[in-house]
């Protein structure tokens, strides 16, 4: 399968991974190889087969609607890169 640099750039942007042009080119080569590996499965006829998301055919369990979690802001924010007045800080989001 032939990936282009444009494909790689687009995917890197979707995945929020900064990449230099050199990195994009080397990624393109390696990813192409991996896609050749994956290509083997594309030709298989899977008509009428149901996709398998989970190992077992079970239903989602439901949780009672009760509050079980207490305020742990102090502990959780002690490991945060930047906080102020209880808020997580990030560069300004421009709409």
């Amino acid at each position: 399968m032939s990936l282009t640099n444009a494909d790689v750039r687009k995917v890197a942007r979707l995945a929020r991974l900064a990449m230099s042009e050199a990195e994009i080119e080397s990624a393109r080569a390696q990813l192409s190889g991996i896609f050749d590996l994956i290509a083997e499965m594309q030709a298989v006829d899977t008509n009428g087969i149901a996709p398998m998301s989970h190992a077992q055919d079970l239903s989602q369990r439901l949780r009672e609607d009760v509050v079980t979690e207490a305020d742990q802001r102090g502990l959780f924010q002690s490991i945060a890169p930047q906080v102020e007045a209880g808020l997580y800080l990030v560069p300004q989001v421009i709409e």
């Binding site: 494909d7 790689v8 995917v11 890197a12 979707l14 995945a15 929020r16 991974l17 900064a18 990449m19 990624a27 390696q30 990813l31 190889g33 991996i34 896609f35 050749d36 590996l37 994956i38 290509a39 083997e40 499965m41 594309q42 298989v44 899977t46 087969i49 149901a50 996709p51 398998m52 998301s53 989970h54 190992a55 077992q56 079970l58 989602q60 369990r61 949780r63 742990q72 502990l75 959780f76 002690s78 490991i79 945060a80 890169p81 930047q82 997580y88 990030v90 560069p91 300004q92 989001v93 421009i94």
Partner: protein, 486 residues
């Protein structure tokens, strides 16, 4: 002491022959000596471990101790342990001190075991050699030029080099079984859903499963007893009654039907590995088993299917690592997008980034049906193959890995070569079945060989029985690497 079984250790602790503090200190001293060369551990907190050991000694003195009380266990650094640095082998979490305990960690704490330290692993569990860790490669204790396997390479090394009494690992495509094979130890990945994933840093959610790594099937049974059990915080955790995984260890094997998939003995399998596995099969025949030739026709698609599904799930699971609430944040950025892009580019290693990109691609608009959906459909075919096979046999066996441990750096440039290390193990995760690896001798270069045992859903007790009987009749699992100070 270092070659005792967990049951013997437990007995010694309960009868006061040794204290948990002494035992823990013994391992800590060995780690101090050997870890610089082997790099099995990422984090040691001696004081914390010893404090836990003192608590265990109090329990033991009171006579109310459970089987694993006081026993030092190495924890793969993928389990969040409250107050412990939990890195997942990544720069992204280099300084992440977990604010809560994973269910598995809590289970061991409640059983009175001692957390001996956090073991090295492939970054975010993505790898088969423990070479992708940000904290450096782990060395195989049998030959320090060789890889220990991955992603649970640190745990496997720690068990083999007697740097812990036992360890935990996780297995998404073979990450318990393959390092167990390459390091000459025993490891089991139970049925999907048997062990809670709460607090276990996610790689591929529908495939990840935690399991024990130790020196024998007997040990694995005791560890599974602690690790398994329903957890309400994990929606995929199975609501099953607790069982004693050691209950069937001593059953005779007469009448056991062992299925040998022809696909596992085909091209790609190294001769020396085949030799050991065939010898193991012969041993099983002597123990009363019969051999059935079976086929898993879709198993050759397991690797490509896995390398669509696992990266897809991973690409989404790893989106939370964005430098906002915890983890690595790039030191310089001009806006939000750049903060994300640089934090992630700098925080993640090459293999992780590769898999994120594959995963993003196969889920993206226009490709979902051809890749992701197609892979899920073939996954069902693979599971059906096993279903059909288990109508003819009780367990399936074969080699765990196509070769013995390869050298560090040998598979460096070509990710696909690395991926093919998992050809015998991956299908088991896709089906959600239990699988284990036990030592079956040594290859032509003196490096360990493992034989894989695959069971039907919830057949762990049977599999451990099958493994235990072999280990009673052979001594591969008792062998110890040289140069580890014993």
């Amino acid at each position: 002491m270092l070659n005792s079984s967990l049951q013997q250790l437990g007995s010694a602790l309960r009868t006061g022959k040794i204290s948990s503090v002494e035992l823990t200190q013994l391992y800590l001293d060995r780690i101090a000596t050997l870890n610089p060369a082997l790099n099995a551990y990422v984090t040691i907190n001696a004081e914390t471990s010893l404090a836990q050991a003192r608590q265990a000694d109090a329990l033991l003195a009171g006579g109310k101790a459970q089987p694993l009380a006081g026993i030092p266990i190495a924890q793969k650094d993928i389990f969040c342990a409250k107050g412990w640095r939990t890195t997942c082998g990544s720069k992204m979490l280099e300084n992440f001190v977990a604010p809560y305990d994973a269910h598995v960690i809590a289970q061991f704490n409640n059983a009175g075991a001692v957390n001996l330290g956090k073991t090295n692993m492939d970054e975010f569990a993505m790898g088969s050699s423990n070479e992708t860790s940000y904290f450096g490669a782990v060395k195989n204790p049998w030959n320090r030029n060789a890889v220990p396997g991955g992603s649970s390479g640190g745990s496997a090394c720690a068990v083999a080099a007697r740097l812990c009494a036992a360890a935990t690992g996780t297995d998404t495509g073979g990450s318990i079984r393959q390092p167990a094979a390459l390091c000459g130890i025993s490891g089991i990945k139970p049925t999907y859903g048997a062990v809670s994933r709460y607090g276990m840093i996610a790689f591929a959610s529908s495939l990840d499963q935690a399991g024990p790594m130790a020196r024998s099937a007997e040990d694995l049974a005791l560890l599974l007893n602690v690790m398994t059990g329903f957890d309400a915080r994990d929606s995929t955790s199975l609501p099953r009654d607790k069982e004693d995984y050691a209950r069937d260890l001593n059953k005779p094997l007469a009448g056991l039907r062992i299925g040998l998939p022809k696909e596992f003995f085909a091209e790609g399998l190294a001769q020396d590995v085949a030799g050991c596995v065939n010898a193991a099969i012969a041993e099983y025949k002597k123990l009363g088993a019969t051999i059935v030739d079976i086929s898993l026709p879709n198993s050759k698609l397991a690797v490509p299917v896995y390398y669509v599904l696992a990266p897809a799930e991973a690409s989404s699971n790893l989106s939370r690592y964005d430098g906002v609430r915890y983890g690595y944040r790039a030191p310089e950025y001009s806006d939000l997008t750049e903060m994300y892009e640089k934090s992630r580019a700098q925080g993640f290693g090459a293999e992780v980034k590769r898999r994120i990109m594959i995963g993003t691609y196969v889920l993206s608009h226009g490709y979902y049906d051809a890749y992701y959906l197609q892979a899920q459909k073939i996954r069902r075919l693979i599971a059906q193959d096993f279903d059909d096979a288990f109508k003819q046999c009780d367990v399936i066996m074969g080699p765990t890995s196509p070769s013995t441990a390869f050298n560090l750096g040998e598979k460096g440039d070509d990710p696909v070569q690395m991926y093919l290390s998992d050809i015998y193990t991956i299908a088991v995760n896709l089906a959600g079945l239990p699988g284990m690896s036990i030592p079956a001798g040594f290859g032509s270069n003196g490096r360990p060989v493992g034989v894989q045992i695959i069971g039907n859903y919830f057949a762990e007790a049977r599999m451990l029985n099958v493994a235990h009987q072999y280990q009673q009749a052979t001594d591969h699992h008792d062998r110890v690497p040289q140069d580890i100070g014993l």
